[in-house]
Symmetry: C2
Subunit: 98 residues, 2 copies
């Protein structure tokens, strides 16, 4: 299975986007003041604001059980967080139409 994306909390989205582009070369999928999504050759990196999302890694699944704690995002994807045995946050995400 692929890891769909990594999410890191940052203080300033646009400053961080510039830093990752300048240092490591990637393209912008999305960028506004509240979050950014960067495309590297093998994986996407989400930059998020601390109070909106936790640090996490994300796995894309074909189906997600409709239950409590599922969040629907603006792009139509749905996701929920689970935790690994040590409490690391793991997002399980289903993209719209995929």
């Amino acid at each position: 299975m692929k890891i769909d994306h990594i999410a890191l909390q940052v203080d300033d989205i646009r400053e961080s986007v510039d830093w990752y582009i300048d240092n490591y070369g990637c393209s912008i999928i999305h960028c506004d003041d509240t979050w950014a999504f960067l495309q590297f050759d093998n994986i996407k990196l989400a930059l998020v604001i601390e109070d909106q999302h936790p640090h996490h890694i994300s796995f894309k699944v074909d189906e997600i059980e409709w239950e409590d704690h599922i969040v629907e995002h603006r792009d139509g994807s749905v996701s929920k967080y689970v935790q690994d045995p040590s409490g690391n946050k793991i997002e399980v995400i289903k993209y719209k139409g995929k």
Copy 2:
């Protein structure tokens, strides 16, 4: 550029390896009581013990300037940590002979 690997801190390496294999399917590159390296289809995931390595993402580079703060690993790779503008730990690693 590719992101070479992600590293997450865990409490128990072998318990965590089993959890990631059972839930998300990956193969084991390395596993002992102090760290593990898991291969997903697009990226590697390192599981590390809290007092040995920080949470980080890692970029592979062809050259690394030989200076303070470089660490040589048991497999001959050398690396150093830098920080993004928000203090997230970024490892820059050069593999032996690559």
